[in-house]
Symmetry: C2
DNA sequence: GTAACGTGCAACCAAATGGTTGCACGAATC
DNA sequence: GATTCGTGCAACCATTTGGTTGCACGTTAC
């Protein structure tokens, strides 16, 4: 039995919504590799600090990154667990597809051409 | 070598964006199980026909469903290939995480406590 | 042929999104 | 103590999103 945590539909919405932006995907990649402060992140994008701050907030609400205070900085690190959850959700779709194929196979098997 | 089709960032945006809505995820699930016309789909949601039509258009733009004419109807069927692509994209994130762990392990290995 | 059905599309609207600037405030530096 | 740095937050703006209604048009059924 695959033990997927029960996610609210709203939370699923937040996860996919958060992943639907190039800058945010990049932030997730970067902070999975190595944690970084918000200003370190912001330095690399062609937009204001506040804009990057908002992107981080979106990612945090989706639990794709976490933010821990360290002095005057806020250190961001990616959360691989939520990535894995999203992957599992998509896996369920594939499962639906596979069981359809199975049913189709069964149907064809009991109706010899 | 894993042969993932090269997706533009825009296309990736569309895929995740399309998945970030409960009604649309439900339509994908349903049409993976069995194809349906737009009006058949629309009958089951508490919104106008036009609204469902728009959701289908969003899914089609993301290549998560396809729409084939059949008389006066448009038959919608889910596209498992795009689901699989999205899953692979998330798999790359996990890969990034795993290689970070590997590097950390290597670092700890060559610095005996 | 006429009526009903399934769809496409435009116009419209409220709310959310993604960006901006400006300001406040605690933490670090000098 | 004054300055600078990193952050949080509010106000504002343009665009997109997700919904609506209304209408046109081809297809199917009477």
């Amino acid at each position: 039995m695959e033990h997927t945590a029960a996610l609210s539909e709203e939370q699923v919405n937040r996860i996919f919504r958060a992943l639907a932006d190039e800058t945010r995907r990049d932030i997730v990649r970067r902070t999975l590799t190595a944690e970084a402060s918000i200003s370190e992140l912001a330095a690399d994008y062609d937009m204001s600090f506040a804009a990057v701050q908002k992107h981080v907030a979106v990612l945090e609400a989706a639990d794709l990154v976490a933010r821990t205070p360290k002095g005057r900085e806020r250190i961001i690190h990616g959360n691989p667990e939520t990535i894995r959850l999203a992957q599992q959700l998509l896996g369920h779709f594939e499962q639906i597809w596979r069981s359809r194929i199975d049913r189709l196979d069964a149907f064809l098997a009991e109706r010899p051409e």
